[in-house]
């Protein structure tokens, strides 16, 4: 945004020089941070990925050997599909639930702050406390879930302790923390211009048409934002696998980052783990790119031009 008047031509050069000097100086910590903690490690991790390197030993250059190994690594594919399964389940579910609740809260309800607080509360629970709490909820013998099911006369389940229900259980658990997404949706809903609703009403449209022709199209940028952030974040799920399931049962919840962590810090295969990291990076880049390309077809951007 260089929309700033320069004024005072006489002092300009001195002022400009001062701004440049200070500008560079003040940007320095950020630039250094980027080089030391982002760009440098990124390049380094790519270089590592081309080596066979156990912690304590010396790295040996093996070209794309690690990547070739990955393609044959059954656990790699297991982790990729477990993570994809989890992401495909959790992201849409969280989006739908948080959108629905945001819609409800947008109905001029009384005690908005109280409702909002209730739905936001789970988001505040520290990740580890969350995980410990849910181990207890999923406990097959005395957990909350099975206790309620038994009381209702329904069959109880093994939840995270059964290969086939482990990921669905974690997906359900992830919906508990929909608060952030909900608040963002709510802000978006409050920004939908009132006159559009009025226009539909004048044309005789009911609630359904208002939702379908006004709310939904106007909300597509917000939905898109939450979708991208959700996919990228969910794909990096780690704590649940580390504390709750240790990747089990039978590797059903061997999430990608957990597998990477195990390779790097349990098996000390730094080279191989770096290759895993880079593959993950590429996957996220490609998925984000596809989402953005696809966005043109369904995201409504009238507002962008108006700003």
């Amino acid at each position: 945004m260089p929309a700033r008047k320069t004024g005072l031509p006489g002092r300009l050069s001195g002022q400009r020089r001062m701004e440049r000097r200070w500008g560079l100086l003040m940007a320095l910590p950020a630039v250094l941070g980027f080089v030391i903690f982002t760009a440098g490690p990124m390049v380094a991790s790519f270089v590592f990925s081309l080596t066979d390197w156990q912690v304590g030993g010396t790295p040996a250059y093996i070209g794309l050997g690690n990547y070739a190994e990955l393609a044959r690594d059954e656990l790699f594919w297991t982790s990729l599909s477990a993570t994809t399964y989890y992401t495909l389940g959790a992201v849409p579910l969280v989006l739908i639930v948080s959108f629905a609740v945001a819609m409800l809260l947008n109905q001029k309800v009384r005690g908005l702050a109280v409702w909002r607080t209730i739905f936001y509360l789970p988001t505040l629970v520290p990740a580890i406390a969350n995980v410990v709490l849910w181990i207890w909820i999923f406990n097959p013998d005395f957990g909350l879930l099975n206790s309620l099911l038994r009381q209702a006369g329904l069959p109880a389940g093994q939840w995270i302790y059964d290969e086939s229900t482990a990921i669905p259980s974690l997906i359900v658990m992830s919906t508990w923390g929909f608060g952030n997404t909900m608040v963002i949706f709510l802000a978006g809903l409050q920004g939908v211009p009132r006159h559009l609703y009025e226009a539909v009403s004048i044309d005789g449209g009911g609630p359904w048409r208002r939702f379908w022709h006004v709310t939904l199209p106007m909300m597509t940028p917000t939905i898109f934002y939450n979708l991208v952030v959700g996919v990228v974040g969910t794909f990096q799920v780690f704590n649940q696998a580390y504390v709750m399931t240790e990747g089990g049962p039978n590797n059903a919840t061997l999430f990608y980052v957990y597998y990477l962590f195990r390779m790097a810090f349990r098996e000390s295969e730094m080279g191989y783990a770096s290759a895993l990291a880079w593959v993950m990076f590429m996957i996220i880049v490609v998925v984000t790119f596809l989402l953005f390309r696809n966005a043109r077809r369904w995201v409504y951007y009238e507002m962008a031009g108006a700003r």
Binding site: R4, W22, M26, G33, T117, I128, L260, A277
Partner: protein, 298 residues
Amino acid sequence: MTVTEAPPRTGRVAPAAGSRRPRRYGKALVYLALAAGAVPTLLPFVWLVRSALMRDAQMFVAPPEWIPSPFQWSNFTEALTAQPFWLYFVNTVVIAVISVLGTVLTCSIAAFSFSRLRWRGRDLTFAVLLSAVMLPYAVTLIPTFVMWQELGALDTFLPLTVPSWFAGAGGGVFNVFLLRQFFLTIPFELDEAAYIDGASPWRVFWTIVMPLSKPAVVVVTIFTFIGTWNDFLGPLLYLSDEEKYTLSLGLASFQSVYLTQWGYLMAASAAVIAPIIALFFFLQRYFIEGVTLTGIKN
């Protein structure tokens, strides 16, 4: 899902005769749906608290009981003394405070440079830095770990705090973005006037821009604090001496030791959750504003 939404605005927009009744029904449905959503949202909390206050014997009866009798307050004292949670708490506060200070200070400085000082290549530099936001943390994890190892800084707080003194480093760059957005809304005439009076850019930053940016600073403070408070992977990687554990790490180790002592586990969890919830109630407005601010990024 959408059926229950029936916006009661109908009544407001076209106050036709007879529209009152559907409106009242619609409203009732909205409250009903909200209550239906609130129950499963709050149930885990209720479960947590009742389990934290129960004796094991009562916890394992079927059907489950909801009111502890007697209230087993000793769960808290025993759980929190079984491991030095007080020490974990202090460690966590120390790390969080250092990180918050570093993030707020260096991110504001950078944001000031990127919004209010003119230098060539500024916007390009900023765009490059901002790309770090989308980067998955796993990609930089291993080299960063190796770097700290080489520097002999494993098992210290340095790897957990130093990056925040470089404008957040990594995903923390998002704070620079937030602050910059906010700085851009402050009239530039203020800077001009100060420069004419011979002020330095630092002075403009510290005495004009920062005091006017309190809301943005509060938001960055809260979110950095929570982020550090809740961080698990960082402490897990870098801290091995139990004396240096954070609350998250302490709770994880506690849960692996007291695997079946549910009363203790729930008491410890409740104790870890409570400070954050208390913080939220004090600063609620800023929380919601902050989340909203991040979402408006688009």
